[in-house]
Amino acid sequence: MGFEVLFKGNNFIRLLGGLGLSLKISLLSVIISIVLGILVGLLMTAKNSYVKLLLRTYLEIVRIMPQMVLLFLVYFGVARAMGVHLSAEVSAVIVFSFWGTAEMADLVRGALTGIPAIQYESSRALGLTMVQTYRYVILPQIVRRMIPLSINLITRMIKTTSLVMMIGIVEVLKVGQQIIEANRKASPNAAFGVFATVLLLYFLACWPISCLARYLEKKWEN
C-alpha cells in the first residue's frame, strides 16, 4: 500500500525534518502572536474611539481573509509593491503572526470584558488597592480562562502552517511529494502510504496539545 517507501534510505527522517520546519515556523509565530496579542487585546479595551475603529478593522480583515490570501499578499505583493524580497519563511512568520495576534487579542479582550463588574466592586468594598485587585482577583481568573484558549491557538497555528508549501517552503507535505515522485517506478502506490503517514504525523503533533487544553479547561471550570 505504499508504506514500504518510508523505510527506504532516510525517507522517514526527511519527513520528520519537514514536520520540524513547520513546527518551528508555528512556534515562532505563536510566541510573537501571544506577546503582541496581549498588548493589542489590552488596547482593545481602551475608550478611544479611533483606536477602537482601527482595531475593529484589523480584526475584521483577519476574520474574513483566508490565511492563504494573506500569504500571497505578503509573499508576492510586498515584493512587487516595495521591491523588497522576503524569503518564504519570513513571509510565513509575518502572516501567521498577523493572524495569530488578532486571534489572541480577541481572546484577551473577551477574557477582560468577561470579568463582571461585581468582581471589581467587591474588591473595592473589601478595601483592596488597585494593584491587589488585579494581583489577587482579576489576573488569576483571566489567566485561567486564557491558558486553554492560547494552547488551542498553538494547534490551529500548526495546522495553518501546512499552507506554506503553497509558497514553496519544503515542509512535510512537500517532502512527501518528493518521496513519491522519486519512487514512482519502484512503488507506484506510495501516495497512499506517504499521505496517510503525513496525516498521522500532524495528528500526533496536534492531538496531545488539544487534550492538554481540554484537560485544563475542565480542571479550571468554576
Partner: protein, 219 residues
Amino acid sequence: MDFGVIKEYLPLYEKAFLLTIKIGWIGILLSLVLGILVAFILFYRIPVLKLIAGAYIELFRNTPLLVQLFFLYFGLPKIGLSISAEWCGALGLGLLGGSYMAEGFRSGLEAIPVSQTESAYSLGMSKGQMFRKVILPQAFSLSIPAIVANVIFLLKETSVFSAISLMDLMFTAKDLIGLYYNTTECLFLLVLFYILMLLPVSIAGSVVEKKARYRMFGV
C-alpha cells in the same frame, strides 16, 4: 494598477468565484448534516458508533484540510477509490466541517436543561414530538453562534482547493501571476472576490445571531 487588465481578468475570476462558492456550500451542507448526526450519536451515547464518532472528530479536528485533501485526492485512488477533484473538495470540506459542527451542536444539546425533556414527556408528547418541537429548535438556536463561526471558517478554508488542481480563486490568481506577472491586479481581484464571498456571510451571521438570541432570551 491597470484597469484594462482587471477588465480582462474579471470573467476568469468570476468563473473561479462561482466554482469556489458552489463547492464551498455543498461542503458546508454536508458538514451540517454530518455534524447533526455525529452530535446525536455522541449526545445519546449510542454504543460502538460513539467510539467511531469520537475518533472521527479527533482525527479531523487535529489535522489540516490541505493534508486531508491530499490524502483523499492522491492517496485514496491508489487503493482503488477515485473521486473527482470537485467532490474531493466538497467531501474534504464536509468531513472537516462535520467535526467542528458536531462539537457546536453537542454543546447546544447539552445546554438544554433536563426539565425540558421531562416537561415534554409529562405533557404527553411522544419521543418524536419532543425531539422535533422541544429539543431541536432550542439546540439549533443555541448552536447558531458556533454554526456561523464555522461557516466563515469553512468558506475561508476553501482557499486550499487549488492544491488539488481545482480552478478556484487561488488557482486562478497564482496561474495568472505566473503567466503575465500582473501581480498587483491579480492580488487586488483575489482580495476583492474573497471580500465579496465572506463579508455578506459575516454581516448576515451577526444579524442571525442577534435574532436567535432575541428568540431565546428576548434581549
